[in-house]
Symmetry: C2
Subunit: 431 residues, 2 copies
């Protein structure tokens, strides 16, 4: 059973939620038309922040790793949406190879893989797991804490195809974000569907390109339903040539931070918001919440000490940070029993299939809740995101979850646009 | 809460269910490919009969009237599937006009309409209800026993468009089976989507054409997964020129009944089935369980008495019966507390969205459970039909419901084929 999130739902009543509720028909029609022009990603998840005056995505993950955190009641929704995703991308597939991250001890992640495998199997796919780990040289069974079991198998590359011993799949689904680059085994698979496309990996993706696409999507959406896009759209800036260890690029960073804070202060004034503005400095490529800094004044990014520089200089898999995005910080005013909660919305194809709260007892409202070693408590959404109820207030759980689903889908749509626009020419020729 | 259907699930263990479970990947792939070639109906429901040795559809309804009987837990599935249906058929629709049956007192039916409206509204459509009843001359509010309310409004025809006062919809969804023919208001709507197409109405549809399409679908499916199609396919015959009141055509009917019973007896012998075979004689056009007769020997259809003739001669809306289908009877061996239970599976687009049992305490295993004035107790499926669980026996509820979903989808696919093949030439030109 899922506890009631009453404490999380007593935040300031959002005019935004009411707008979403009142304009639900237009919103859904708008999305329908958008999805005719843009191919939805196979799957994705959005981290949202809700400050009461702003409901905005702060991350869009194209390799979602928390399917295990979803409410089991959402399983049929996941299966149905996965069927739609497969029909859209690889309808003739019957065998699918799943390539996960190289974690063999992270129980949470492995349970995510197990859940994902079971969802895909329920669509009728024959699913097996191929590991990029060099020490997986024979089928390796992992018994998970929750009773599930996973078999990792060594990959076999033959010409333009990737498979396993005795398993020649039609499609390769990545649940590995490619932060460390594209492994040789995954390069040039021109005879198979690779989902998502390789250029959606973090070796190539940039948060700023996503933010730029989101900015356009959010503006168009806001114009359609008649809201100020600022309510759903975090401001951002980019510094493209920074070297934390060598202390170059600090001026650019300080300048961008200052510009952004000035713009945010003006908006806070316009809307009578008394909170203190802040920005978040993040590595432009990379994930896992590494290389992230909360900043309230430009002076904080000048003359970083060694510890701070080390923290910012490298992200997952030792990737060096030379480009950063400076993003408007969005306070989290949702709490569960006094702990800060950040909603995460899960999508397959263009359908919202569920979500959960990342609840962290030791972090503040202006801090990143997705941090290395972070011990968050997942709290599955108790209802789904597709049943708004106009008979209830805009803040009632089904309506708040609907609003989450709307903003999460905007971020997903931005990811579609981003993937289209960043498709390398070589891939374009191969298609 | 939904009671456990334990009594219904203790029937003979079906080899068939095991086959479906073992071959689920192939089955789902097969369906995926079929749905690429055939447009799924917007919605549909299938009445199934399960004799333990045969699991077969006995009716496929293109205007399903029992959405109110579904488990509320399936609402998100319905909404998601309805979104898919709208995207496929009328993606640019924002206003939808629902035209229901002309019932104003049948609470069960009206609750179905209310449920359907709420599902469609949750996809973001602006939905209103237009009544074909001549005495609905102003908006008429019906308060339903379950607290829901419906507003019926008079239709307004303007040129090639149908609407309401101040409401010009992009799509017209029929929940009226057109048994009495196509009303003038619905003819020639060449500027709007009409869903399903008019030729799917019972003024035009023939059970025998559906049975013929189902026969082909079932054979192809059976060949794919390696089963005898007889396990899922009821035998049938047709008599095209019958007049019950004038007692013409009785010989044809008797001959067909005899031929069919002989074929069924041979199959019963082949499979060592001790039950007594029977056939069901039905009006080839028409629904609502009118004009239906259970027959165990050809002699029973010769020299019908006045009461029997009257029963068979006319169906819903006074339509005269001149064509009948003779269909192999499938015993119902599912029971709930000793009462006979017949599963009904609901689908939107090509997705199974739920189902319920029609439970009837006063009817036998070889009788039609969908009869006029019938008082069945609906019993919503407790789990959905898309989560088979190979860790459980083939007879466990999720697996039995999966098998129901497979056969129901075969009937839905047959309806797609039937609708394609019976499309009138004029419509073909208009498309």
């Amino acid at each position: 059973m899922v506890p009631h999130l009453t404490t999380a739902l007593t935040g300031p009543l959002l005019e935004l939620e009411k707008q979403f509720l009142d304009r639900a028909s237009e919103i859904e029609k708008w999305f329908r038309i958008q999805w005719q022009d843009h191919l939805p990603p196979f799957y994705g998840s959005t981290d949202l922040r809700n400050s009461g005056f702003k409901l905005a995505p702060v991350d869009l993950n194209l390799f979602p790793g928390g399917f295990n955190n979803l409410n089991d009641a959402f399983m049929p929704l996941c299966v149905q949406a996965a069927q739609a995703a497969i029909e859209r991308i690889c309808p003739d597939a019957s065998k699918l190879l799943l390539v996960p991250e190289n974690h063999t001890r992270n129980q949470f992640y492995l349970q995510n893989v197990a859940k994902l495998v079971s969802i895909l199997r329920l669509t009728g796919l024959d699913v097996r797991i191929g590991s990029l780990l060099p020490d997986v040289t024979a089928p390796t069974v992992l018994e998970l804490d929750n009773g599930a079991r996973l078999t990792l198998e060594p990959l076999r590359r033959e010409g333009g195809r990737l498979g396993l011993e005795g398993f020649d799949p039609c499609a390769v689904l990545l649940n590995n974000d490619l932060s460390g680059g594209v492994p040789a085994a995954l390069q040039g698979l021109d005879e198979q569907w690779v989902i998502p496309p390789l250029h959606a990996g973090w070796h190539f993706r940039r948060k700023s390109r996503h933010a730029e696409a989101y900015d356009r999507v959010a503006r168009e959406f806001a114009a359609t339903i008649g809201i100020d896009p600022w309510h759903i759209n975090p401001e951002f800036g980019v510094c493209g040539q920074i070297n934390f260890q060598e202390r170059t690029g600090e001026e650019c960073l300080a300048h961008q931070v200052d510009t952004l804070l000035t713009r945010i202060r003006a908006k806070y004034k316009e809307y009578g918001i008394a909170d203190e503005p802040f920005v978040v400095v993040k590595a432009d490529a990379g994930t896992y919440g590494m290389g992230v800094m909360t900043v309230k004044d430009a002076s904080e990014v000048v003359g970083l000490n060694r510890r701070q520089r080390n923290k910012m200089a490298v992200v997952k898999e030792g990737l060096e940070v030379h480009e950063v995005i400076i993003q408007e910080g969005v306070h989290t005013f949702e709490t569960v029993d006094g702990a800060v909660a950040e909603p995460v919305v899960y999508m397959m194809d263009h359908y919202v299939v569920g979500g959960f709260y990342r609840v962290h007892t030791e972090r503040g409202r202006d801090e990143n809740l997705n941090a290395p070693g972070m011990l968050f408590k997942p709290l599955a959404f108790e209802t789904c995101c597709t049943l708004p109820d106009s008979a209830q207030g805009p803040d009632a759980p089904p309506n708040r979850f609907y609003a989450y689903g709307v903003v999460a889908r905007l971020a997903l749509l931005a990811a579609s646009v981003e993937i289209e626009e960043t498709e390398p020419a070589a891939d374009a020729l191969a298609v």
